[in-house]
Amino acid sequence: MTDTTTETDTTAQLDDLVGGEYRYGFVTDIDSEIVPVGLDESVVRLIASKNGEPDWLVEWRLGALRHFLTLEAPTWPYLRIDPIDYQAISYWAAPKAKGPAPESLDDIDPKLREMFDKLGISVAEQERLSGVAVDAIVDSVSVATTFRERLAESGVIFCPFSEAVREHPDLVRKYLGSVVGPRDNFYAALNSAVFSDGSFCFVPAGVRCPMELSTYFRINSAGTGQFERTLIIAEEGASVSYLEGCSAPRRDENQLHAAVVELIALDDSSIKYSTVQNWYPGDENGKGGIYNFVTKRGRAGNRARISWTQVETGSAITWKYPSVILQGDDAVGEFSSVALTTNHQQADTGTKMVHIGRNTTSSIVSKGISAGHAQNTYRGQVKVMRSAVGARNHTRCDSLLLGPDCGAHTFPYIEVGTDGAQVEHEASTSRIGEDQLFYCRQRGLDEEDATAMIVNGFCRDVFDDLPMEFAVEANALLRVSLEGAVG
């Protein structure tokens, strides 16, 4: 019932729709200190010395560096990337401190504060109004962490990683690299060698963290990468919900972000980790944008629960598989993901659920939306070890295509090593229906509203898993990413 002319019209309209402009592409003019480009032992030692790190950590980094230098970048992802010259990147940049370290939020450089206000993350307002504790990280360093005293009353430690190394060295030494080792993979090895800062969170046994914790990552300087390390530990019976957001200026060059996140959920604890990833995705011709290579993994003890929820709308390249090692009996792992790629974005993302303990359960919900010339890949592994008697997994993987030039791909890997396991995989790929659009438009909604409504509906299951404030943000972000113009 559709002739060629109208199909072309619709395609053109869709192209308009998904060519939404990036709102966070501004650069803040702050004095920055940047180390020269290049990667060798002296750079690693320099980064370590900036943080005043102990010898064991310097050696740990150097071990990772030596290993990294023997590795080649993985070629298995479904991503087309020009070779990256790792010697042409500066591995450390920081806003220049004006005088002594800020004693309180009032002492933060007003320009930095203005930058966060512009991003909609008013550090001061956050503290006063929303009851969410924020760690703000610009380029390589943490610039502000809010609510620390109130958290400390409950015994919760929430601080920049660099500070944790100084103030809580035993905890850092015990857990750093215990889930993602320094030789885990190419990007994790790179991160282990040059990571600069990040967030550290420790919730002691039996404590329910009294508020949401949040880290906001911002790349501001040109010619640099961001390599942060996040370590979250929930002791026995503890629980914490953690939110992560990111953005970067609009630039023609590709910038590298290679992070590692480790979650340790001891017996009976729970960690919920939510991400809204909105790094600069490049322009409509695929020029510029962040290369996002992230290793995220958690280890769950007996009856512990780890939930990853992610909304990925940014980055030129996304390579990311938040995973759970279900080590303890009755442990639960969850992964819910919305990945939206438009223009020339490429995403190869999914999860890995490794069932070791008995009666462990995992669930995976992945929603991939692809538009323009984008390629969107779900890659997931469900591995049930011999010991994991009674393990269960359910995977649901849906792809939505907007327009004729984009692609959706699904690579599920299922390995089951025991008889007593139940593994289910459901997958679907659909195009946004002309019928659905027409139905909405017949009721008076314009094409943009109709598309946003249908796409939001497609993502509903995942958005329902997000904490309230993030769900609203995710909805809005999806809308903006789909819009033809900045609203």
Binding site: T2, D3, Q436, F438, Q442, L445, G457
Partner: protein
Amino acid sequence: MLEIRDLTATVADDDGAPKTVLDGLDLTIRTGEVHAVMGPNGAGKSTLASVLAGRDGYEATGQVTFDGQDLLAMEPEERAIAGLFLAFQYPVALPGVGNMHFLHSALNAQNQARGLTEADAGTFLREAREVMAELDMDAGLLGRAVNDGFSGGEKKRNEILQLALLRPRLAILDEPDSGLDVDALRAIARTLERLRDGERSYLIITHYPRLLELVVPDHIHVLHRGSIVHSGGAEVATAIDADGYAPFIGAEAGTAVR
């Protein structure tokens, strides 16, 4: 209110060649009137509804004026905002989009485009519940995703619910009675009759006379091969019920004989 002059519509067939589905159709609907269009399968009834609502895929020529505006030049949403509503024969599901949210958004979009204030959510919800009671609809359907997993009858009732809440000037109902049992038919007829207030017009497309016994039309048109071959009053439905379409469409010849 609606003036259709010499409306011709073609659609590409499987080989891409144009196929005529509406052929020089004339029809005038005045404010407050109820018109029914009947005709055998393939006569062009649903095409008429689709072309009037602006669905893609048709090449339409001729004049269609709706309240003085050139309907064929308008986008589907502009037609909706001008007050034209289509109750779909096969309402599509919108997974994950809440029925209440959808209805409220649609009403707000229309109100906003007309320069009216946003519909108050509380009032809107109360009104929706009243109409649902009138339609014997399960109130739980408001919280479900639009038409997702709805039974055939629930989908048809949901269309009438939308009609009642959006209050269009002209409602085109494309086989609102197909697949409905007697009770459901009575329920939708009750709502349609209540909303038949002299200000609102209906164009009802149907195969069967039973709905037209409950919502008695002012005019009935017999559509055959893309044009109206006979127009009359309510008695046409009775005649079709007794003798079929043959007397109107001239059996084999396919031309009007009366």
